[in-house]
Amino acid sequence: MMSGFVSRYGWAFLGLWLLGCQAAPSFNGQVVEPAAAAPELAGTNWDGAPFKLSELQGKVRIVFFGYTYCPDICPFTLAKMKQIYAALGDRADDVAMVFVSVDPHRDSLEKLASYVPSFDRRFFGLRLEFDELDQVSEAFDLTVQYGQPKDGPGTDSFYYVDHTGTFFLIDREGRLRVTFPPNATAEQMLPDIELLLAR
């Protein structure tokens, strides 16, 4: 009977239809749900200017963490941001790249200034004091772990800093919307940035 058909399959169709509605827009990255205001991020930029993430209202913001003594991953991360800027062309004006140092001990403003702008002078490279960094780590749910100096504790020798390498994408209204893993490529992130720019 007709009514039997509808009652048996109607719910299935309804469910599928609702699922379909949830799908737009489709991001490549990990969608943050619900989209809430991004944590405040305040520090000093490499050029000495005070920085506050919330003051970049109206711009899409890409926040990521690292340190200048990192020999392997961080240069490639900054190079990816460079690729994104190149692909965006003029629209790069509406996207802020924010590199945050997790190594306040070694990453002075001078050190940051010798490193970050060499990729692009428009990039932000922030130094936070340790207590500010603690707060940000908690707010962004980061892992930041300092290794032992290689010549022994208390020596002024190299130490590495294990850190969350996630990319945090924040929309023009300041909401954290999407994240990407450390190995995401510029090509993978670009469509999501464009989606956020469009809103």
Binding site: C70, P71, D72, P75, F76, Y115, Y160, G165, T185, A186
Partner: protein, 195 residues
């Protein structure tokens, strides 16, 4: 095996002639000497270091070396191929004139947390295998390299292997972040968004 005692060489004392037995003895001695000299592969790392082409002697081939130098740190990458299918080797340590120290490290992505693992005992190069030191994985870390602006041209690296001994290579100098990380399997250009 028969229970007979060791009568290996037939008596050649036929009519007082000893020449044949002497010849046989000489041949046998010569054969033993030859086997002794040729049968043992060179084990001394000093031997390999002194040869004109330590790579060929060891079965190891090193190629594709390049470095990126930043203020205070640097990374170097290369590929090591062990053409010897029976004997493994180990990269023990590395030196460079451009840095105070060079260490072997490895980046690991631990669920989104980037960690650095030190390899103070070096890296194994198994028989017949290729070991790649590349961005996002195994790499050489140059500690306190000379400021990048000081020099141009290739950077010399001295690789010390357990069996092969010392192999000197020239690493191409590239600007930081120039080469894509290991996870990316495609070539890309900045002018092709979404490709």
């Amino acid at each position: 095996m028969s229970g007979k005692g060791g009568r290996i060489v037939k008596k050649a004392w036929i009519g007082g002639r000893t020449v044949a037995s002497a010849l046989v003895a000489t041949l046998l001695l010569g054969l033993v000497a030859a086997l002794t000299a040729c049968g043992v592969p060179p084990t001394g790392s000093q031997e390999a270091a002194k040869t004109a082409d330590p790579e060929a002697a060891s079965g190891l081939e090193v190629h594709g070396a390049w470095v990126q130098l930043m203020p205070g740190t640097g990374g170097a990458y290369l590929t090591i191929v062990n053409h010897d299918a029976t004997a493994g080797d180990r990269l023990l340590r590395v030196e460079s004139d451009v840095a105070g120290a060079v260490e072997i490290h490895e980046t690991r992505d631990d669920g989104g947390v980037l960690r650095m693992i030190a390899h103070p005992d070096g890296v194994e190069i198994p028989p017949g295998e290729t070991v790649e030191l590349r961005p996002g994985g195994l790499h050489l870390m140059l500690i306190e390299p000379k400021p990048p602006g000081d020099e141009a041209g290739a950077v010399g690296l001295r690789l010390y292997f357990e069996r092969a001994g010392r192999i000197d290579i020239d690493a191409e100098r590239r600007s930081p972040g120039q080469e894509p990380a290991s996870h990316e399997h495609h070539h890309h250009s900045a002018e092709e968004p979404g490709s």
